[in-house]
């Protein structure tokens, strides 16, 4: 009878290790040189690696440069505005900066990795690089603004460096890109923006919520900086690996409705002339794995500064997802690619014009009603003919009823993911006792716009029917 051998005794019983590459060690592209890198089971030599990376980068970015997206053409690239590059100091965004410089700004002589010796004209008039400094909330973390600035200057003297602090989201005097005519002091708080930021962070119930909130603040700050710099494109250095991590993490926190926006999105805003403008957020490295980025950085001699990352440890869904995906990529690299490709095929049911006040992404309406319908609340609304369980005291439970959802509250204007983050229960019973929690500036302004519109609407309604109203004396 056949049986499985014991690997400890029989050397032949253990399964032979399969190589991590198909066929042989020869480059699959040129079929001449011995390979230097394995990318998802395919072997590439160093000379073929650089054009491959450049091609993937341009194939993702260039169809979306012109105001009318073009899938099949490459000539006459001309953007409607400037370019803003989000630089976190991490591997992906550093490689992105290098690729932008080599593809659109490098001189005619060849450089390592430069695959465009003919020199493509830069589609943007100006290029800005923005760094969001989060060191204010990272205890003991050094400020990396200066090394990041040096990194930008080493790459190009034409790129303009902008430093934004995370606490600027709470600074009513420095709100980048926001309409100052609507800027009011809605809070009587005299706290500094940094204190407001820390209070906001500490009010969140879980580590996962804190990580998500920081990411949302960074993203919206980048969007508003793009508006301030009149940029039509915001580029982020999210690699395929990072994208897979953010997709799974977002879905697990209830962000499935805006899953497409994790890869690419268009953010609309009104400029000072009240004209609608669009910022396209593109991740040109979404088809390039983190391994490829690391090889590019090493072979091109990039001095990656490194980025601060807030991690909630083992209680943070984002951190757990990252560990899972990194482990998956080591043994099953194609699966990581499959995650991103599968999510790219997803589409949501129906459309929406509502935007979440917190994260500025599409929000499905009726989040509160849905949560009330699926929540276990009380027995006070059960059928009077039914007999409740013996331990339930209907009289004392009456106060547990939740108030009907207020259509003008912030909660009614939040997406499901943000709503879940703010209302999730901490396993340690962490509940904030604060009643006056500072909010990001754009949230206050959106609320004041809604308030103004409501007031104006009522007033205009009164004016419209004024002629038909009877005098109170008659």
């Amino acid at each position: 009878m056949a049986s499985c051998g014991n690997p400890d005794v029989e050397a032949d019983a253990s399964m032979t290790k399969r190589p991590k590459y198909d066929r042989n060690k020869t480059c699959v592209k040129c079929k001449l040189q011995t390979g230097n890198i394995v990318i998802r089971h395919a072997v590439y030599c160093k000379d073929c690696f650089f054009p491959l990376m450049s091609l993937r980068f341009r194939r993702t970015l260039e169809p979306h440069i012109n105001p009318n997206p073009q899938q099949h053409r490459r000539k006459g690239l001309k953007a409607s505005g400037n370019l803003l590059i989000g630089l976190s100091g991490g591997l992906g965004s550093s490689v992105l900066l290098d690729l932008i410089q080599k593809t659109y700004l490098s001189p005619r002589e060849r450089q390592q990795g430069d695959q465009n010796p003919n020199g493509i004209t830069c589609p943007w008039s100006k290029i800005f690089v923005v760094y969001v400094d989060i060191s204010g909330i990272m205890i003991g973390a050094p400020d990396k603004s200066s090394p990041v600035e040096q990194f930008v200057k080493r790459h190009s003297t034409t790129m303009e460096y902008i430093r934004v602090k995370l606490e600027d989201a709470f600074d009513q005097t420095r709100s980048p890109g926001l309409r100052k005519i609507l800027l009011k002091v809605l809070s009587s708080s005299t706290c500094s923006p940094l204190v407001s930021l820390k209070t906001y962070i500490e009010s969140l119930p879980t580590q996962t919520a804190i990580s998500s909130a920081i990411q949302a603040l960074i993203r919206v700050l980048l969007l508003h900086t793009a508006a301030l710099t009149h940029s039509s494109h915001l580029l982020l250095g999210t690699s395929l690996t990072s994208l897979s991590i953010s997709l799974i993490s977002s879905i697990s926190q209830g962000g499935g409705y805006s899953i497409r926006e994790e890869t690419q999105e268009e953010w609309t805003y009104r400029n000072q002339d009240n004209i609608e403008q669009i910022v396209r957020v593109i991740r040109p490295l979404c088809d390039v794995g983190m391994k490829e980025c690391a090889f590019w950085a090493w072979w091109c001699g990039l001095k990656v500064v490194g980025k601060h990352r807030y991690s909630g440890g083992r209680q943070d869904i984002g951190a757990l997802t990252r560990d899972f995906i990194m482990g998956l990529e080591k043994d099953y690299p194609s699966t990581v690619s499959t995650i991103a490709r599968t999510c790219n095929k997803l589409t949501t049911k129906g459309g929406t014009s509502m935007k979440c006040l917190i994260c500025q992404r599409p929000a499905q309406s009726g989040t509160q009603d849905w949560k009330q319908n699926i929540s276990i609340r009380s027995y006070s609304d059960i059928n009077p003919e039914d007999v409740p369980p013996g331990h339930v005291n209907l009289a004392s439970r009456a106060s547990d009823d939740l108030p009907p959802s207020n259509p003008h509250s912030i909660a009614s204007s939040m997406c499901y993911a943000c709503h879940t983050s703010w209302t999730s229960k901490s396993i340690r019973g962490r509940i904030t006792k604060q009643t006056d929690i500072p909010l990001p500036v754009w949230l206050k302004i959106s609320s004041s716009i809604s308030e103004e519109r409501r007031q104006i609407t009522m007033e205009s309604m009164r004016n419209t029917i004024d002629d038909f109203l009877l005098d109170s004396d008659s």
């Binding site: 230097n36 982020l236 690391a294 980025k307």
Partner: protein, 111 residues
């Protein structure tokens, strides 16, 4: 055990150098023949698996869990052998030769 040694050049990048006294480049010499496993009498030629073990016990200054996991490098750390992906050279089973350059790059900085 043979007294022959293998001289290697080790490079750390992507933030890994912080775990090794903030030093990017190291020149080391390790025995050419080493025990197959801890405390084992059987011997083998020094390979990358042994090198990782050697680095963990002789050069690593802090947080070993950020470098090593299950006798190999932690997921997210890439290894180059003479400018080539170690997956093409047999990963941990690659037998080290005198003058080899081994590079460890951390990708945990993200995007």
């Amino acid at each position: 055990m043979s007294t022959d040694t293998v001289s290697l050049r080790i490079e750390f990048s992507g933030g890994l150098e912080l775990l090794f006294a903030n030093q990017r480049s190291h020149r080391i010499s390790i025995p050419a023949i080493v025990p197959k496993d801890d405390g084992d009498v059987e011997t083998k030629s020094a390979d990358i698996t042994y090198l990782i073990h050697y680095l963990r016990h002789n050069l690593l200054k802090e947080r070993p869990e950020l470098f090593i996991e299950d006798k190999t490098v932690r997921p997210g750390i890439l290894v180059l052998v003479n400018d080539t992906d170690w997956e093409l050279e047999g990963e941990g089973d690659y037998v080290l030769k005198d003058g080899d350059e081994i590079v460890f790059i951390s990708t945990l900085h993200g995007g």
